[in-house]
């Protein structure tokens, strides 16, 4: 009987309560644990090669011949390719993305945006390998023709069959579109309606209102969209691993190039010893880039919310 009173079983109940709280706390620390162990593993595996090859020689060397008899591990071109490729993809993708977001949030009739918005979401869900597949079969042949046309009289040009920096940049630009569109659109929608009304009442046209009032007001959201786009572009591997070519060169438009990510994907399979360790160093460089982008992002988000208060 004792058991069924409101006083009974209190001990057992509080034991359950305690353990529930402890279990949830442990769950929450999983993310912390994961990030810390990833950080530690990236550094532990990436740093030895820096010591063995030499920091300057590795990071600023331009010759990448890991399997030669006298191997050379310079990854400068790989780093530069990632930076140049990502920037170009952003320059190309962000305007289209932001303008599409404006279309969806501001100018489109409701029925039209009800069709396009799910389409954008679908674009985000398509597996990256499919982008790569289409890149190889559609983009690369086009690029090859362009290449043959431009370098018709050149003696020194090495033909890439269309797998070059431009192809990779185009694929990346398409892949960042959904990210940019979604986040810019919600930023535009968050702009208070009375700002628009005030601007229109002052006699500004709709387009003037959008570009001079709404866009500046949504600035921090759009910057977030760009930063996330950078993160997605610099980390993408599978879509561009076959589209970007297979040798390490300076990041010029018609050169076959390797990105940080594609170097890892295409060489990890057969790399051994020092070569393998250098690939981990490439992973470390990528990791550092991503961490910097993340910190920038938190800064922006924090700055944005501080201003709102």
């Amino acid at each position: 009987m004792q058991k069924n009173t409101i006083l009974g079983g209190k001990k057992a109940r509080s034991a359950v309560e305690r353990s529930a709280e402890v279990i949830f706390t442990i769950c929450a620390f999983f993310a912390v644990l994961a990030v810390f162990s990833i950080t530690i593993y990236m550094f532990v595996n990436g740093l030895p090669a820096l010591g063995q090859v030499g920091v300057l020689e590795l990071l600023f060397g331009t010759v990448w011949k890991p399997t030669a008899a006298d191997p050379s591990y310079g990854i400068l071109y790989i780093i530069l390719t990632s930076i140049v490729g990502t920037s170009l993809a952003i320059i190309l993708g962000v305007p289209i993305g932001v303008l599409t977001a404006i279309f969806l949030a501001e100018t489109a009739p409701k029925k039209v945006s009800a069709v396009i918005r799910p389409a954008v979401e679908l674009l985000a869900g398509i597996p990256s390998v499919i982008y790569g597949l289409l890149g190889i079969l559609i983009l690369c042949p086009l690029m090859y023709e362009l290449e043959q046309f431009i370098f018709k009289n050149s003696e020194t040009h090495q033909y890439t069959g269309g797998a070059n920096l431009i192809s990779a940049v185009l694929v990346l630009a398409i892949m960042i579109l959904p990210t940019v569109i979604n986040i810019s659109e919600s930023a535009l929608r968050a702009v208070p309606q009375n700002l628009r009304a005030a601007s229109l009442a002052m006699g500004a046209s709709k387009i003037q209102t959008i570009f001079k009032v709404v866009l500046p007001a949504a600035k921090s959201g759009i910057v977030t969209a760009v930063v996330l786009g950078v993160g997605r572009a610099i980390g993408e591997a599978m879509a561009i691993s076959l589209v970007s070519g297979s040798s390490v060169n300076a990041p010029l438009p018609f050169n076959s190039v390797r990105f940080l990510t594609t170097a890892i994907v295409s060489e990890m399979g057969y790399a051994a010893d020092l070569h393998r360790q250098v690939l981990f160093t490439i992973g470390l460089v990528l990791f550092v880039f991503i961490m910097v982008i993340n910190l920038v992002l938190t800064r922006i988000l924090k700055g944005g919310s501080a201003r709102e208060k």
Binding site: R13, V16, A20, E21, F24, A31, V32, A119, S128, L133
Partner: protein, 289 residues
């Protein structure tokens, strides 16, 4: 008359900018339509019963992705079994137990960071930590553990959002009539937040199906079906490539027909997942009102 307010001033720049907006939207839409149509046209001839239900056979010279489909299912199930409780638990802690402060900020920052790490780096980490340090080698388990880290933020965030929409009056009501906190969470909060949790799970399935870089060096590329009996369990420790991995491998061997067949299957799955999440979030909204 020229300067009357009744006459609309024509601004050329307005027309240009408006034109650009429409062109951009059209480009985005055409890209999607183009991609879907191209994959459909090239893939539809490849997909048939034999393609979906057999494994590749050199003797018969046929190709099938049954093994890859089974591997994908294995990885989805195992990953979700591990990630869902942790993710939901973490969200419950953040929303219901934790007091705002440094600790919460640390957990939220790391969750955010985790979702920003590119999948290739998860792949590297999984290969070294689960594969080599824990001696799981190339196996479905290694792949699942790696993906667990990747989808954890997705599930945590969706659960958190769902928990936030549960009105506070539910909580105080339950606590007020004498329910303990855990009882309140179990019987009031979790059922109310269920649509959000399920949306998170479906989104996670979408990510797992589309993932390739994180699996290439962790789950490997095995394509055989599990053997009968104990084989179903042993399969967890064997290498197994998902459909995306097989697509990548076919693509790098220039077997484009096979690749388009798999691409079509993947697109259909992505489409179904998209429709499901839409349906769920709509249902979710109705419940809130």
């Amino acid at each position: 008359m020229k300067n009357s307010i009744c006459q609309k001033k024509i601004r050329v720049s307005d027309y240009i900018l408006h034109g650009l907006i429409i062109v951009s939207a059209a480009v985005t839409t055409l890209l999607l339509v183009g991609i879907m149509c191209y994959v459909f046209v090239r893939g539809v001839g490849q997909v048939n019963w034999q393609f979906l239900t057999t494994v590749p056979s050199t003797i018969k010279g046929t190709f099938g992705i049954a093994g890859n489909i089974v591997n994908t299912l294995y990885i989805i199930v195992i990953t979700l079994l591990i990630a869902t409780p942790i993710g939901v638990g973490s969200a419950i802690y953040l929303n219901e137990y934790a007091k705002p402060g440094k600790l919460v900020r640390l957990i939220e920052f790391t969750t955010e960071t985790l979702s920003g790490i590119p999948s290739i780096l998860f792949g590297l980490f999984g290969m070294v930590f689960f594969g080599r340090t824990l001696h799981l080698d190339y196996s479905i388990l290694t792949g699942s553990l790696t993906l667990t880290l990747m989808i954890l933020p997705l599930i945590t965030r969706n659960t958190q959002e769902a928990l936030k929409t549960v009105p506070d009056s539910y909580r105080s009501g339950a606590l007020g009539i004498g329910a303990t906190k855990w009882y309140m969470i179990r019987t009031i909060l979790l059922p109310s937040a269920m649509p959000g949790i399920i949306t998170g799970i479906i989104l996670a399935i979408g990510r797992i199906v589309g993932e390739s870089a994180a699996l290439l060096f962790t789950a490997g590329s095995g394509y055989l079906l599990p053997k009968d009996g104990l084989g179903y369990l042993e399969k967890i420790m064997e290498s197994g490539g998902t459909m995306t991995i097989q697509l990548y491998l076919s693509m790098s061997k220039a077997q484009y027909d096979v690749a388009f067949g798999i691409a079509l299957v993947l697109l259909v799955i992505v489409l179904v997942i998209n429709i499901l999440t839409r349906f769920l979030s709509r249902k979710f909204d109705v419940n809130r009102i």
